[in-house]
């Protein structure tokens, strides 16, 4: 019975499946193959050897992961309290808050990123306010360094964390918290023993999503990094468009894909343990 139902469903998803395989999976496999197979030369591991010989590419990958981690932590630190605060609002307040969080999605990433230049630049709003209030004498360098990239990425990716987190938080039954309180638990204990564990799966999923998106971010580091924050996508752009060494780019992309899948697998393991 279940089996036939499954097969019935298959008819409906077949078009999507075909589209995914043809338009998405096949190019990826081709891209992965590029690093191993060269026209007229056959199988080669040369490009991976090249990767090992030039540790600079691996260091760029390491740098990318470090910045992605920082941006993810920044997102969690800002996003968790925000989602929690939104939960406490009334019906109308929630609607407005969700709209404000989603709003940036309607504006192009490019525009949002350039907006930060207006806000954080040497002659920007923040620096003028700081100097006017006498807190600083010289402009503070917010842009064209890791700080700028982190701020930009945190801004762009915040909705990816806040929305799933908020959805999980409003599902938490208030009576659970009340039960804990009636048993004499102080607010701190209620939060850490009841509330936080219930939000943890959504937090982990949101943080993972943000981290993975950070790994492949291109526009924001390119503009707000001022060329001083090497990240893997920018390196890939050079290898694909300028040099053009697609084989080397393919080897690096494969590595990036493996790292991403490994992180995802680790998350699944933790998630399964948590829900078991």
């Amino acid at each position: 019975m279940t089996r036939t139902t499954r097969l019935d469903g298959f008819g409906f998803i077949a078009p999507l499946l075909v589209l995914m395989v043809v338009a998405f999976n096949a190019p990826i496999v081709y891209m992965l193959g590029l690093a191993f197979w060269e026209k007229g030369r056959g199988f080669t591991l040369e490009h991976y050897e090249g990767l090992a010989e030039a540790p600079v590419y691996l260091r760029v990958l390491g740098n990318t992961m470090r910045i992605a981690l920082i941006a993810t932590i920044a997102n969690v630190v800002i996003g968790y309290p925000l989602a929690h605060w939104m939960r406490g609002l009334g019906r109308r307040g929630r609607m407005i808050a969700v709209a404000l969080v989603v709003l940036p999605f309607w504006v192009s990433i490019l525009v949002r990123t350039y907006a930060w230049i207006v806000v954080l630049g040497n002659g920007g709003l923040v620096n003028r306010a700081l100097q006017w209030s006498g807190l600083t004498d010289a402009p503070v360098s917010f842009l064209y360094n890791e700080l700028g990239v982190t701020i930009g990425m945190a801004n762009v990716l915040l909705p990816f964390l806040v929305l799933p987190l908020f959805a999980a938080m409003i599902r938490i039954d208030d009576r659970l918290l009340q039960a804990a309180a009636s048993l004499g638990a102080p607010p701190r204990t209620i939060f850490w023993k009841v509330y936080f564990p219930l939000t943890l799966p959504a937090l982990a999923a949101g943080a993972l999503l943000v981290f993975i998106l950070c790994l492949g971010f291109y526009v924001t580091p390119a503009i707000l990094g001022g060329g001083r924050v090497p990240m893997i996508s920018n390196l890939l752009d050079t290898l694909i468009n300028q040099i053009p060494r697609w084989e080397q780019a393919s080897a690096i992309s494969t590595l990036l894909l493996i790292v991403t899948l490994a992180i995802f697998a680790a998350y699944r393991r933790i998630d399964r343990k948590a829900s078991a």
Binding site: V60, G123, S141, G227, P230, L235, N241, I243, P244
Partner: protein, 340 residues
């Protein structure tokens, strides 16, 4: 369209093209990939308009023009795009990768051109320079040693995030004259850049960045493309010691013969000084005619890369050297960027 039909048509077309002149006249449009922006507009105004008027053939422009795109075009076996704009460095790379084909110069039959613009594989259609510039009011450096002297000339710098645009100037700052620049002493260049890296606020990738950053007062000194700063009172600039370079149009490998015939006619239009003068009203980059100076506004000669007064104080990019060493230098460049 089925792939088989498509390939069949493409294979049949050259034969038709060879058969008769009338078939050739049936070309209604050709496609080019160029660098876009104002440069694209200048091609439209200067060369495409007179070409379309004479031949009735439309030209469809596409951008941007990365080398990766050319590789994808050729490797996928496309035949629709005939012209590709390339830099001097990418021209040599594309030639080595067999992505472009030699130009039939007899078919182009151009008006007189500077010799370096007449390349076996490329029609050098546009001179552009990479020069030093500064925010108006900043102390003006006279040479590269001064430009790299951040004590005597305090201020933030903005340099190209491309080794082939930044390293030669760093080497010149150590006193190496332009005619002894190549083979490039890469280590010396990196040493010089390391000395002042704290004062380099931004490494630019897009040509629009340096003038904007100077206007925002984020940086005071830049190395940038001449067309972005000349004629603007907000900036000072100096062509002396600058790098002259050429942008080329090349014939994409596998393109149709009748498209090529049309492309050669367009190249002929590009060789006419009167058309080049028209293009120069849109952008401050100049065409390859030695007779162009006489047609340009006298008061603007100082702004153009190939005017006699500017051409003589600049040196030429060594594309062959970069084609042979570019990838190795690029690895060092990435390592250098990680140390910032």
């Amino acid at each position: 369209m089925k792939r088989r039909t498509f390939v069949g048509t493409a294979a049949a077309l050259p034969a038709v093209g060879l058969l008769s002149g009338t078939a050739r006249a049936q070309v209604k449009e050709i496609r080019m990939i160029e660098s876009g922006g104002k440069s694209g507009e200048s091609i439209e105004v200067g060369y495409i308009e007179p070409f379309t008027k004479k031949t009735g053939i439309k030209v469809i422009r596409e951008s941007p023009n990365s080398l990766g795109k050319l590789r994808a075009l050729v490797e996928s076996g496309q035949t629709s795009t005939v012209l590709m704009e390339l830099g001097s460095g990418t021209l040599v790379q594309a030639k080595n990768l067999k992505l472009i084909e030699p130009i039939d110069w007899a078919a182009v039959n151009p008006a007189p051109m500077f010799p370096e613009a007449r390349n076996e594989y490329g029609f050098g259609y546009q001179y552009f320079s990479t020069i030093m510039a500064w925010r108006a009011g900043a102390k003006a450096p006279k040479n590269w040693a001064e430009f790299f002297d951040t004590k005597a000339f305090p201020g933030k710098r903005c340099l190209p995030d491309f080794p082939h645009y930044s390293l030669p100037f760093a080497v010149m700052a150590t006193g190496v004259p332009a005619d002894k620049l190549f083979p490039l002493d890469v280590e010396t260049g990196f040493k010089k850049l390391n000395e002042i890296k704290k004062d380099i606020a931004v490494w630019w990738k897009a040509g629009a960045q340096p003038p904007q950053l100077m206007k925002d007062n984020e940086v005071q000194y830049v190395i940038c493309w001449s067309g972005r700063v000349v004629g603007d009172p907000a900036f000072g600039y100096n062509f002396a010691g600058g790098m002259a370079d050429l942008a080329y149009f090349s014939i994409v490998k596998g393109s149709k013969p009748e498209d090529r015939a049309a492309a050669y006619k367009l190249m002929y239009e590009m060789s006419l000084p009167a058309n080049q003068a028209k293009a120069a009203t849109v952008i401050s980059y100049t065409g390859p005619s030695p007779e162009l100076d006489a047609l340009l506004p006298k008061d603007k000669l100082a702004d153009f890369p190939s005017s006699k007064q500017n051409k003589s104080v600049q040196w030429f990019q060594n594309a062959e050297w970069w084609a042979a060493n570019g990838e190795a230098v690029n690895k060092k460049w990435e390592a250098f960027k990680l140390s910032l």
